[in-house]
Structure formats: structure tokens, C-alpha cells
Symmetry: D2
Subunit: 297 residues, 4 copies
Amino acid sequence: MAEHVVRLGPLVYEISRLREPVLTIDPGDSVLVETEDAFSGQVRVPGDVRDRTALPLSDPVAGPIVVNGAEPGDALSVHVVDIEPLLGQCATYVLPAPHVVATLASPMPDMTRICQIDDGQIRWSEDVTIPYRPMIGLIACAPAMGAPTTVDAGDFGGNMDLREVAPGATVMLPVFVPGGYLYLGDCHAAQGAGEVSGIALEMPARSRIVVGLGKGIHMGWPRIETDTELLAVACGRPLDEAVGKAFSRLAMWLERSYGWRRWEALSLLSQVGETSVGYYWGGGVAAKIPKSYVERT
Amino acid sequence: MAEHVVRLGPLVYEISRLREPVLTIDPGDSVLVETEDAFSGQVRVPGDVRDRTALPLSDPVAGPIVVNGAEPGDALSVHVVDIEPLLGQCATYVLPAPHVVATLASPMPDMTRICQIDDGQIRWSEDVTIPYRPMIGLIACAPAMGAPTTVDAGDFGGNMDLREVAPGATVMLPVFVPGGYLYLGDCHAAQGAGEVSGIALEMPARSRIVVGLGKGIHMGWPRIETDTELLAVACGRPLDEAVGKAFSRLAMWLERSYGWRRWEALSLLSQVGETSVGYYWGGGVAAKIPKSYVERT
Amino acid sequence: MAEHVVRLGPLVYEISRLREPVLTIDPGDSVLVETEDAFSGQVRVPGDVRDRTALPLSDPVAGPIVVNGAEPGDALSVHVVDIEPLLGQCATYVLPAPHVVATLASPMPDMTRICQIDDGQIRWSEDVTIPYRPMIGLIACAPAMGAPTTVDAGDFGGNMDLREVAPGATVMLPVFVPGGYLYLGDCHAAQGAGEVSGIALEMPARSRIVVGLGKGIHMGWPRIETDTELLAVACGRPLDEAVGKAFSRLAMWLERSYGWRRWEALSLLSQVGETSVGYYWGGGVAAKIPKSYVERT
Amino acid sequence: MAEHVVRLGPLVYEISRLREPVLTIDPGDSVLVETEDAFSGQVRVPGDVRDRTALPLSDPVAGPIVVNGAEPGDALSVHVVDIEPLLGQCATYVLPAPHVVATLASPMPDMTRICQIDDGQIRWSEDVTIPYRPMIGLIACAPAMGAPTTVDAGDFGGNMDLREVAPGATVMLPVFVPGGYLYLGDCHAAQGAGEVSGIALEMPARSRIVVGLGKGIHMGWPRIETDTELLAVACGRPLDEAVGKAFSRLAMWLERSYGWRRWEALSLLSQVGETSVGYYWGGGVAAKIPKSYVERT
């Protein structure tokens, strides 16, 4: 299989089937993808702040990458091999939803922070280090009509902010247009469940992925598979509907591919299922089940 | 400290300050509490089904237990020592929210199941065993006005369905009326995150608790503490508001009791926080942080 | 038919089947009911403010009124004859949901206002008069289990804040316990759709009602009928689910009582239906249809 | 001022700044715009049904129309002069949200209906005629980044389904890109509040509009003005947040343009405001106030 590189290039803020591809590959190829951080590089050195007036757009991505042979109804599988910091650092500030601002009441100071990444640890403050747990916040194939911005999430994937899109995992995304038109970006050095402040430890990154093609999969929403778990994804508000939809999707996947009947699967999920909340205010949530429950004797 | 027993008695379906106490204790006492399952015992042997026409009420509880000295503004701490099956079995069926029923589309068969519990394992089916992970689904102090039913959850606690209310953990509940008026029930042999089918592995149980009293705590919502984590709870729909509220509460707790400033705490939670979804459609959700992050040098 | 009077009495803040009735009547009787305003009388003269620390409870009501012969499965019909100001004035201030506070951003001054009512007009300010359009904000029959507070709304009715509960209209409420246990209060001199500030023009009032009894109606949610419209009610958050539920209920009512098939009715409602938003953040919403469409040739 | 015509052309399903304009006009010009119905013409004669497999896209629009001089920060004003049926008929069927399907439970028959429009009346059935009250369901200026599909609604306008976008009214839309890039379509012969079945009386139409340009308005969301009312619009789920946002926007507009202070305006809106629900499940909702209250002495 061929190996490709996508260097940091002009920043892209929409997931569109109409953009000129930056790369065309064959299924099975690997790609090293450089991506800028969610702040478009505005926060690099102490003293920098995110200036949304100068640049209202967030979450620039790399892409589109075209995959030969990908047709509507197929699925792209993106295996994440590793994710490295591009500049050895990450950054964050705080931009919570209005209801959180209102609840905390007290005036919000500037919370901008630039953190060095060394030896598997993120130096968050003098006192606090956080383990480096990189992930890809945004991954998507372009829809057949319309072009979501890079802050959106939906059945096309997009800005899901799911921590399981990480080294060792494989994301499957529905293909909507010939070639797939894969985008990715918004990498995080680490992130908590829910991403409550609206922002993670945003990081310019170099991600190595291997892209496969599943023909005729016809599953119209994102899935993730790790060594130990199957995950079905749903996005958007309100979160409770997304959770119910994610579990329903997981039940239908277990029926389709693992010999379960859907209601039986749902019953089991109600006892052993887990959830993974990406961005709690409109991003992705995944319903998960350990693979050990899935394979039937 | 004294040890008490609350035997299975008349079934109670509301969390009321007006009920006659079943027990009065001193802070530090332990209580062995027997509780019926969420089905009020309707599903005991194969062939039984939940009959909501005959009995529309669910989640009977034991209580109220009065704690001497408890005053409004205090908090009861309920340390869960252990939870044992009362009858060596648990039961479940499927009662999902309408949007899940609509998504799965296919007619829903009877999914009633009675499962034996042996040696730390629940025999869910011929093929599938699930580890016994008992929890208390409902725990609450009566509010100062009104009386929620036992299917409700709110700042008084109630039907939160949080898995961390389990052996080894301590739940703290705000006291609203003198004596506290503690109720508990709706025990589960196991449960998945989200409890998507609306029902867990419901179990008549014998729970051993130790009840303490924190004077003048003045924190108007439930908290949980385990050996390794702090959890702040919020309940109700929509779930995304509850998640944001739970994290906000956790940030304010870290400020109040651990020397953090709230916005700094929120920023950290956005990177290392975790969520625990109880019942995703109106029950409880907890925001969690490992204690290792909380103690400041 | 007998005429009764319920004078202003001890303030009640919960809708409970367990309270001592203040009055027992026969179906067809009329009752003149005096009610305090939502502020429990705290805002009477200029300079007064609502003090929620001194009194956290809101929306005191009169009741319960027991209706002889009312049994579970019946419906009480409450025809509103008229609503008069008890003190010739009303009052308001501003208590919006957090998301509104966050959106308007600017510091919120004290917006307390006491307005005289004269000659069918409310003197809101020097410049602005508002027509006197009185309504009953809270009307309910006690549920069979639990006791909602007077800020809650649900299938029992409660704090719906629907403007159509006004002179000339008839509200129908499901009976859950023998005797019905009717409560009412929270009268408004006027109110806008949505009640966006959380508060209307709250008014101590004297309401004249005629109470009827419909045997075996078995419709588990509130309805309203005026000279020209039929209204079906649903309550709670999120509002979009309540709207869909209200229209579904209206379609089922048209099927049951007017010879329509439900899907046909829903299709018509999508073209000629109207909505009435009570309190937009968890209160009631009604789906409405002009009676002229309903009677079939 | 010049008069233009946009004839029915290739169907467009996204609101994009990148499409080739179909027309360029000067501010003050009038345009006669022909639009196909939401079904893309699939439902024309009895026996036709909407076939979403053959055509998954809905709500084709006309456009983009470029307005000379329109710059980001400006607003386009679109005065609707009249809306006529293009083919003398309209059509509908039923596609409700899952929660409504689940609530009505009973199997849903084919509800496709084609209705003739004569003399100001829509012949909905043998028994039922509905007054012809035409409206434009979708009107939008293209956003600066991304391209919403024609089923979406947001601060750019889009598929709001607000009945006040009707003859005699003026809609104001924020301009995001030079030229504005105006789109419109999805006309209805009539529609109920909430549009609960998901579909109105969809109609191919000829709309006459006069397009104006407000320089430097800088108001980032849609507004509507009629002879008697001012309306501020918010879109999306959940509906309660959209209602609160719409009223907040109206309060800020009253502050900015009519001499009110925002909190004072919000207080008044809570007493005299009205709501107009477009599509209740993610479309637009408007907060309204009679102009008679707005002009201050």
C-alpha cells in the first residue's frame, strides 16, 4: 500500500463535496495528515488569545481526500495508527454554553492556557499534569447535498469530539458522494467527557491513518471499532435523543452483523451498555458494548 | 453505633415528608434495608409479566427513615456497605421511550426475563452472563413542599439510577425537612449506562447502609464520593442541560471545598472530567473527576 | 345549583390528595374563589420586592375543593364565568430562565412594578396601558400518587399558564382520586404568549367558576373548550415534544368525539391548527382548532 | 425600479454562496419568482405519491439572486407583494416526527392529498375548505461558510415555515457575503401553527417580491415586519430555547431601534408578546409584539 502525506495547507472550514481534493488514494493506503488546531494557530505563545472577531471560524480541517472506488452506500474505514503533536504543545481557553455561564454566575476571567507536551504528559499547570491521550475531534465524509461547517456534527460525522477516535481505533463513515471526500482535523491532546467548557486541549497534529473501503455497507451513520468495543454514534441536540438513537443504532448493528434480534440487543444494552459523551452540547455521543458480549456462541 | 433493620413492608410510591417514619436513627447508625423490586414483585417466576394496568405504579421504596438532629441545610451521607439479592434473582423487560420504539420500528416481542444470581454472576441467558454490580436506583430525602413520585428525579435525588450508588460509595443528599426523611429502593443487580430500555436488572434487595449527618453543608443537590472519584449530580430533561449543570456543580464544589476557583475548575473538568449517565430520559447524570486531580499541592 | 364561596385562607403550595378539603360541592354548583397572587402578597405597595429567601415558595392556591360523585376516570369541567381583581391591582417583576439572562447579558435592574387596574385597563407605566385579560394560571386535580408543587405542570394540569383559562371557557381536568380535589390560583390580569420573563401580571383575584362532572370520560390530560375552539394541552420540557403531544392529543380527541380518524385529523391540524404557548419553559402549551372545522357534515 | 422574472428552472437544494446567480438586481427592484413545491413536483395528479427513495431531497428553491451593493453586515429586506398558485393546486401528505408516530400508534395510511385552489379557498376535502393564506416557507441569504440544505433553518433564515412571510410583510435577512445570495421557495397555500405533520399545503407558486438593502444593519438573525407587528425569529431545537432566544432578540431590537431598555422590553413582552410557531420540530419560531406598544411617547 502506498504512503502519502498531507502537509499543513490552506485552512478549510467546511465539509464540502465541491472542494478540490488535496489527495487521491487507493483503499488500503496510509496517509500522514498534518492539521492545524481549532484556533487556526491564533494561540501559540503566552499572551496570545483567541480572537473571534478577527477570525470567527473555528476547527480548520485537512482535506478533502478522495478514495478511488468509493461510491454512495459504501463506508470508509479510517484506522488511526498514531497522533503526534506537531509543535509539542496544545492550548485551551473557555467558551461554555450560556446556561453554564449563567449557572457559574461569577465573572469569567481569561482562561487561555498553553501547555507543553513531554513524554506522554501534558503540563496543564505547575501542579497538574494530564496524560497525553490524543484524539481526532473532527472526521467526516462530505454529504451529498449541502456543506456543513466544521463546527457541525451529524450523520456525516463531523465535529463529534469522541475520544475513541484515537490510536488503535477504526472509524467507519458513510460515503455519500463518489470518492468519499474525507476530511479530518480538530485534534486534541486530551479531552474530558462532555467537553463542558466547549474547548479541549487543542493541538496542531500529525495523524497517521490507514484508509479502507467497505463496499455496499449501507449504514448511514458513523461507527467506531476498537480492540475491545463496538460504538454507534449519534449527534446533535437534545443529547437524550442522541443517546437513545445511538443505542438504537447499536442494537440494529448487532442485529445486522452479529446475529442478534434488535429488541433482544436493546435489552442487553440496557444492562451492559456504556456511553461516551463527546461534546455534550450538540456534538457526538456513542453507545458502546464490549465485544465480548457480542460474539454469540 | 446502633444497627437497625427495615424489613420489607407496605410498598411506598412517593417521597413525602408527611409519611409516618418506619425508623428513627442517630447519625452513624447502620441500617439493613429490605426493598422490593421496581415491579412490586409482579415478575417472580417464568410466565409472569409486568401488568401496569393492575398496578400503574413503579419503584416502591422503603422509608421514611428519620435521622435525629437532621435540619434543613444539613446533608445526610449514606455510605453503602453492601447490597445483596433478597431472593437470589433479578428480572427485566423492555419499556423504552417512544422515540426508541419508533426508531427500531419492528414489533416489540415480550422481553420479560428472570435471571438467577450466583456467585457474582447474573445468568442473563443461556449464552450470556453479566457480572453482578449492584446499585441503589432510588435514594432521596423528602422535599420541603410537594411529594415527588418514585419515578421522578431532581435535586432531592430520587430515581437517579446512577451506578455509583453502590457498595463502597457515599451519597450525600440535601436535607429539606427536620429529620431528613430518607427513602431508598429500586435496586439493580446490574445496569448499563443510560438504561436505554427504561429498565435495568431489577432486584429485591437487602442493602446495608451507614447514615451520617453533615451539619450546615448547604449544598442543594446530590453528591457522591467513592474511594477515587467525586461526583456531582443533576437530573431531568433535556440531558444536555443536566450534563452542563452537573459539571457546573462539580466546579462549584471544587471551589468551595478544595481551593479551586470555579472557572479554573471548569477548564480542568473539560479536559479530565468524566460523565456517568443514569437513566438517560429524565433520570440522573453525574459529572466526575478523579480525586487525584482535586487535591492541590 | 348551590353557590359557594372560598375566602382567602391559609396559603397552599402543593396539589395533594391528602389535604383537608376547604369545600365540598355537588356537580353544577358555582363557587366564588378568592386567591392570593403568585408572590403570596409580598408585592403590594411601591418599594416592595419579591423576597425568595424569606419565602422560596410561589403560586399559592385555593383548595382542595371536593366534588361529590367524582371518581377516577371521570373529568371535572370548570367553566370560568368571570375573574375580578381582588385589590384592583396586579404586580410583576422579572425572573427569566438562565439562557435568557445570558443572552441579554446586560445587568438586570429591579423590574418590580405594581399596576393599577381600572376600567378594563392595566396601567403598566405612564406611557403604556394593557387591556385587562384575566386568566387562571394554575388549575388542577390532585394526582393519585405524589403531590406536585404549585410551580409544576403536567397531565394533572397545574401551573400551565394558558391564557384560554379565562372567562367564557371551560377547562376539563382528569379526576385521579375520589372527589377530584380541585385546586386553582395564580391568576393573571394579563399575560403574553410564552411568559418569557417567567412572570405575568400577577393578581389576587376573585374567580367565579361553575364545576361540572363528566362521568367515565377517561381522557388523561387537560382540555379546554371555548365558544369557538377546542384545545388539547401538554406540559413540560422540551417544548417541541409538548407541542407534538398536544396536537396528537387533539387528533385523538377529534377521533374519539367528532368522527374523525386520527391521521386524517392530524393532517388537517397541520394546515389549520393553532398553538397557544403558556409558560414556554416547562409550563403548558395547547394545540387548538376552530370548532367550525370539527363538526363534520 | 426594474422588474425581473425568475422562471422555474433547475431545482436547487442548498443555500450556497458558491452557486452561479440566476439574477442580479439593484436594491428596490421587484422580482417575480416561480418556485416548485416541496415535493419537487412528484405529487401532481391523484395517484401520485411522494417517493423519497427516488428523490430524497426536499424543498427545492429558486436562486441565488444577487443584490448589487449588498455587503456583509447589511440586511436584505424582502417585501412580499403577493403569492399566487402556479398551477391552481396544492398537495400534502403526512411525515411526522417519530414521537408523534409513536403517540398516535395506529398504522398510518397514505394521506396524500391534492387540493384545488379556487377563489381564495382550498378544497381540502369534500367537506372541508380552508382559506387560501399563502406564505413563503423558505427564505434565506447564503452564509459565509458552509451551505445549509433546504430543510435546515438557522440565523440565515432558511426553512423557517413562518406564516407571516406572506403578502404585505417584509422579511429582513442578514447579509453574510457580498451580493447577499438570496434564495426562496417552499411556498404553502396554507399552514397551521407548528405544521405538526411535517408538511403543509405545498404549492408551486409565483411570488412577487420587492428587494431592498439596509446598509450596516448588523443584526445577525431574521426579522419580519408587518403593518401591525414586529417579529424576531429564532430557529432550531429545542423549541423552548428558540422561544426564549426570539423574545431576547425582540427585546434587543426594541432597545436598539425604539428607545426601550432591554430588560424593560422583556418585561413588557412577558405581558403582551405573542408567538408564532413555524415548524415546531426544528424550524422557526417568532416572538411578536404589536407595533402600537412599541412606539414610545
